[in-house]
Subunit: 638 residues, 3 copies
């Protein structure tokens, strides 16, 4: 298939006079897609029930006639002000009970049925009107679920919905749930936390000290399910009127809901990629690393998301918003180096993206995002991204198609385990996402290509599978891992909790065929690393008991890895040097082709090519070839 | 004119038995002024409508008879407890909605009309009784507007007043404001934030993510206007009964309201100068700088305020409260070095202060400020400040008068731009005030004397004018700067926003006669300085386009300054070494006499003298003369 | 007497099937005591007035029959969920006014009379049923008063109770208190804070700036008194039915209520000792110190508490909960080094503990504390603590009894002064507790054994007494210190406030026979230490005036110590090297045997022995003997 480019456009922000010129310039820039509509509710329905589609009709017509394909967004992330008059209690509440008020965006509680019905109405009207429009080639539901910490709500609506959700989860013989089952699952005998009825259960905020972790995990599951349900309502409506594929644009490192389950209802996964913003705002890394990559972004963070959304989209995924220049929302917002917009675009394609859309066409002169760059400046002059996009379009036109292929290495990623870690990190700052990113980074530094695997994934064809820190691992997945024939690395902390967020007995990991027991665990001050082969244990380790003899140990004698047949238990959170050493050994056993990559260089295999990317500002030589700073190199596989 | 000294006294805190002795000792110490009354409401009106002026009559009589001149404060910063019973909703609300309760001071919302009427009453009674009193030689309104973050209130009274203020600002043909004008000015089409009526507009707190910056800026303007209005009511009443000059005592680095506009209603500007507290609490400086000046205070912070209030007071200004020893409110509260009270006093006079009053006469043995030093200890023994004040009084008596003169250099300061920066700093920790202070400091290190210029100021007579970071710059000021004949330095970030807080098109700075366009901007991590002539760019820069050829560039090739005729655009926030280099070059072009001053040494010109101050604990030699540690040296101009 | 061991057990958490085996294994481990019941209210009273004691009867019987002695806890720290339905307003409120909700523990306000009556009922029923039970050998009231910041409540119940408490404290002739007396005591004339009636007085939260310190101190006293009152109600009930001794288990470094006054109503003081959690969470120490002792705990923190609770219990004290392995609640939770459970146990005995109980018997597989180690793992296999406890039991059986003796050195500790420091620290981070710990540590490093002295303590027999930072020191204690014949060290900041939290005149310390006046004080940045004999002044000093000549001075000439007869005023907060130098000199004058101990080594004298403890991982030689890492050495006194 042919990879394509696009942009995000807000016709309602600009005079109708310039729409045609904008459309023409988009086509000239080599763009195929234009996403519109996702924040325009106040212009689509200026007052309740009074719809104004004329301007959107025109905009779609202008864009489509110019040769562009439209992605039409539902506007439910930005309900107009009048919605508050109709549903004063629709706002989410923060953990302190404050309403999260009108005046920006995402000001709604996923559990508010009145608001959900309003969304049904506007989505229905859009689907009716544009479901068969020839220019509308795809849909987007809402915008960036979870952005601005909007999944967890402590409103009355959420409280009532949570109680009902619990009644279903802990269903008894009757219709009203089995409160004893809940008390048992949560271990509520502890500290006399037992409930007599579901109506006594509150949301887990403002407790005197930490709430019951099982209470918290169920609240996290419930909150995620509310997003799935909210999204599905829109999908069900759109499907009634349109056969165009439906996407949602996920935001980077937002793990508050299960993207796999939302994705199950969609044809396309997409995400919004802001490499510089993420480096400053969402990556826990030494300041030296942040300084080095301040104008390029982290070399692995975007790639991990690319691979994640390829899994979420079951192969079909886009970058719906690609950073084109400085953004406005990170602690520091530097200019990307010239060439990075192109590199980011190609990296997405190398990982299988169908399309890369730049956010946004023209920088806004007003409101919250006026310091967010676009492809054009506010005065309509070209911004640097425009030429880089044009270059990518040219290269796409000239070069062979990108043909994705299953990777040799699988890496599990599980949203529930991320919640479990955040509920019980054990040590300050420890996070499941960081552990997965560290693992991914170590594998990438060995030149490996990786598929992200969700719980329950088909393991066929993988030669090496890593399951780091997946606190909740089903018996089915344990059996599949034991039987899959790949080299498997599990741990640390994998299978540490039951589905009820209790410590399982027999103790973890209770992996079939692996005589390893985690006797206890410890978290460590950042300033007390423990030397281990080539590097250090940092932050966390499992203390294990085993009769196995294929072991490696840290300098203090503690077991770091224990191996039985093709399963390796990794008992510690290792820094990169030590982790690379461990992963390299296992990759070699799996017969994989590893390589030691220079700083900032990464490679990615497709069915027919090897892509090389140099994120560094220094030229590097690797595998006999020179990689200029910020180079993108495509090498056919012989 | 003869410069004078004074002190702040609370007769209500002490037995009437010691008033006469206190008055006698004040006169012996060389003091002229005694400020009283500003926190005494509970003694002036112990219950609603029951006034007790007898004690104040006596106190004024005792002090006046001893030869002192009284500054009488209105007590509106400390409404008594009974006021709450009458106006339970008079309290301000913080951004989270919590009431800011009784039990300290400043517990009122500027928008509460009921409280404002109570203030009218007590001010009227004071004015009636003391308006013609021969000892009452000046008035002070309220106390330290804005101290303790009291300008922004999120109360119901504030919400209603804000809506009315907006109706006036966006006035339509009718009487109720033009909501479309507001929607356009704020760019509310963005994120569907459009309003149907003014009654839908809320205060900009507790939004899901950042509120619209135009919404914020208007709220800041409104909040400032409420202070102006509150102050003016008192002034209007006092003027009906008294011809004595009226002052307000502003607090250091409080920029939440427009001091120029409050000052327009007053005869005298005054401020409260706490050099050691400010250094610890209100200056963003490296710890090495804070350690070096921990017992002296920052060498430029006070001087900047002196020059600011000279502008606010249109030449007439005081230090109403001068730190006399350790204070109680900073993170650390060290003892000043012996000699600093004298140095601070002389520095104020050198900048044109009419009077310096020490806060307070005797250290209180009770309540919140019992750890705040006075001129006397709580046991009435002399504290170190007493002798230093006496020395200053002697020196004033012996030395020639200080004769202020217009400076060669003008430096713009604009409260709206400070609000605009705080709304959109772009990079963490960036602040307009700091940029102005950095600029002021660089000019001072070159030995220059400076006038602070408000927007719209008359530019006649200046040979060099700096306009750093003034995000909102009127077309009139642009024209005046272009025409004034002085060397003008504008930027970085100057003229970056319209009055509506939008990005202007054509892009900034859009300065007549200067072919410079800010194509985009970037903020930088503190650990990634960019080398530039003699120093570094730190934190922020504009990326500019220009056809000009009189340029300087940083090590990475980016343009740092672009010059056309007498206007220089400075595109980056520079550290002191680089900024001094730029300023020195321009000052030389302006024909100014610059000098490289040693650490901690500053000079200040008057019409007849040069004052030298050594804030350092090391002796320095400068211009052929020795400056002992903490020296104050007056040198007649030949 | 014979020292004993025990554990904490939750029969309600486990199947009745394993109780007998658990009991047998406890006895085999050498345990004497088993504490039960303190969180079991939901099982004892599953619904209001419906009691279920059968299971507790059985548990006590099983445990008792196995040879264990039961400590029975009242369950009032964990009211069941139904309690909230009966008393919706029983929750404490935090300083922002948020309710502190159900879902963990300690969710009650000490001032809520309705809840207090419910406590009366359950305690009465427990006392009736088990008061004469032969296996119930001791009682525990509630659990860890003050844990999770639960002493200060800003609820309506607290507000009303505070007003009544003030009416009593400031009692006039009538029945309703003398508001003028309160206004005078608080100095409310300051800032017009005067009240007309007690009903106007609010709790000191949410004020615009800091509240009146006298208001705060009275609120702290009131809050402490509410705990004393709450505890006494339980004690009074239990005493009606049982002669067994009553204890409470205090938590480390919780100073929000007066433990001495609670202890006056109890036979036994006990505390919960978590050395590793405390090191990370509750000690302000350099990271190097924390790294060094991350697996051993601070060498002095536990000992200080041991000595404190020996004073609180008037000689009778226990460790009710001893850390047995990693805990769950500190920022980092490492594994203790092998041998530390034994060392901690012996250190407690060396300081006179009657019993040491390990928390808890078996690690819970569920709920908040599932990551808190026990003597058994969740799968009932032995955890490392089990064998160490068994070793201690064996050693107790073989070795001679520990015979406590009065120490040579007394160290004052006063809860009111801790509150006074927290109200007016003067410098960021300064704390009374830290000053006492620093003093205790310096004395310990000199090999001294110490008794903690409460205000009003009998000073007979001490040869050296230290009174650091005791801001509120009664005239009686001043007189006793002056007359006691010991070497006395007072200061810095001792006697700085009156009982009303005012600055006394004559100025502090106003110590009989000591011509020292604190003229003023200063707090210092941490990066500006002032060299003083062998070390430095850090953070704080008194500037004193004196005619005494037996002085020591810092490098800047300021007086550090001033001595008159046997009283030394210490005017500065010294670091350890300087403080040890001062204390060593005074100890020698007192004729005490000091020694320079190696890193981590401490000694403790009893009547018959010297105990040596090596907290370090390095072997040290001291007094001619080798101390292996983590060694415990008992040396008979010749």
């Amino acid at each position: 298939m042919k990879r394509t480019l696009g942009t995000c456009y807000y016709p309602e922000h600009w005079s109708r006079d310039i729409w045609e010129d904008d459309a023409r310039r988009m086509v000239e820039a080599g763009l195929t897609w234009v996403r519109i509509g996702e924040f325009a509710w106040s212009r689509l329905e200026p007052s309740p029930g009074q719809y104004r589609f004329d301007w959107l009709d025109d905009a779609i017509e202008v864009l489509g006639r110019a040769g562009l394909r439209v992605v039409l967004g539902t506007p439910t992330a930005t309900p107009p002000r009048w919605m508050l008059d109709r549903h004063p209690d629709m706002l989410a509440r923060d953990a302190e009970g404050h309403p999260r008020k009108f005046g920006s965006r995402r000001h709604y509680c996923f559990s508010h049925e009145g608001y959900a019905r309003e969304c049904d109405l506007i989505v229905t009207r859009l689907a009716e009107r544009y479901g068969q429009n020839p220019h509308v080639a795809a849909w987007q539901t809402d915008n960036e679920y979870g952005c601005h910490d909007t999944i967890l709500s402590y409103s009355n609506a959420a409280r009532q919905a949570f109680r009902n959700w619990l009644r279903t989860r802990y269903a008894g013989d009757g219709n009203d749930g089995d409160i004893d089952a809940l008390n048992a699952a949560w271990g509520n005998v502890f500290w006399s936390m037992e409930y007599d009825s579901f109506d006594q259960i509150d949301l887990p905020n403002l407790t005197v000290t930490e709430p019951n972790p099982s209470h918290l995990l169920d609240f996290r599951r419930f909150s995620s399910d509310q997003v799935v349900r909210f999204n599905r309502r829109q999908v069900d409506i759109l499907r009634g009127y349109s056969t165009a594929p439906i996407a949602h644009n996920y935001m980077g490192r937002i793990t508050d809901f299960d993207h796999f389950r939302v994705g199950d209802d969609l044809e396309i996964a997409s995400w919004d990629s802001y490499p510089l913003g993420f480096l400053e705002d969402r990556i826990d890394a030494p300041s030296e690393h942040k300084r080095r990559y301040a104008r390029q972004g982290d070399p692995d963070f975007q790639a991990l998301h690319h691979d994640l959304y390829r899994a979420v989209g079951r192969g079909r995924w886009w970058v719906m918003e690609q950073q084109p220049g400085p953004v406005n929302w990170a602690p520091y917002n530097p200019d990307p180096l010239p060439g990075m917009v192109r590199l980011w675009s190609w990296e997405a394609f190398a990982h299988g993206a169908e399309a890369v859309c730049y956010f946004r066409w023209r920088q806004a002169p007003m409101a919250q995002e006026m310091m967010h760059a676009g492809m054009l400046r506010p005065d309509s002059a070209p911004a640097p991204a425009l030429a880089e996009a044009r270059q990518v379009a040219d290269e796409l036109a000239q070069a062979p198609d990108v043909t994705p292929v299953q990777a040799d290495v699988g890496l599990f990623f599980d949203y529930e385990s991320d919640w479990a870690w955040s509920i019980q990190p054990h040590g300050a700052g420890l996070s499941y996402f960081d552990l997965v990113l560290d693992t991914y980074r170590a594998l990438r530094k060995l030149g490996l290509s990786i598929d992200i695997l969700r719980p329950g994934a088909d393991l066929t064809g993988y030669r090496m599978i890593c399951v780091p820190g997946q606190m909740i691992l089903s018996d089915e997945d344990k059996a599949a891992l034991a039987a899959c024939g790949a080299e498997v690395v599990i741990g640390p902390r994998t299978a540490a909790r039951s589905a009820d967020m209790q410590t399982p007995v027999p103790l973890p990991p209770a992996m079939p065929g692996l005589d390893v027991t985690v006797a206890r665990v410890e978290s460590l001050r950042p300033d007390m690393p423990i030397a281990s082969d080539g590097g250090h244990i940092t932050g966390y380790r499992d203390v294990i008991e085993t009769t196995l003899t294929d072991l490696t140990r840290a300098s203090d004698g503690s077991i770091v890895t224990a191996r039985s047949h093709q399963i390796t238990y990794l008992a510690a959170w290792l820094d990169q040097p030590a982790l690379i050493r461990v992963m390299e050994g296992i990759a070699k056993r799996a017969g994989l082709d590893t390589i030691t990559l220079p700083e900032g260089v990464r490679r990615r295999r497709t069915a027919t090519e090897v892509f090389w990317f140099n994120h560094d500002t220094t030229e590097h030589e690797v595998a006999g070839q020179r990689l200029a700073p910020l180079a993108v190199l495509r090498q056919p596989i012989a």
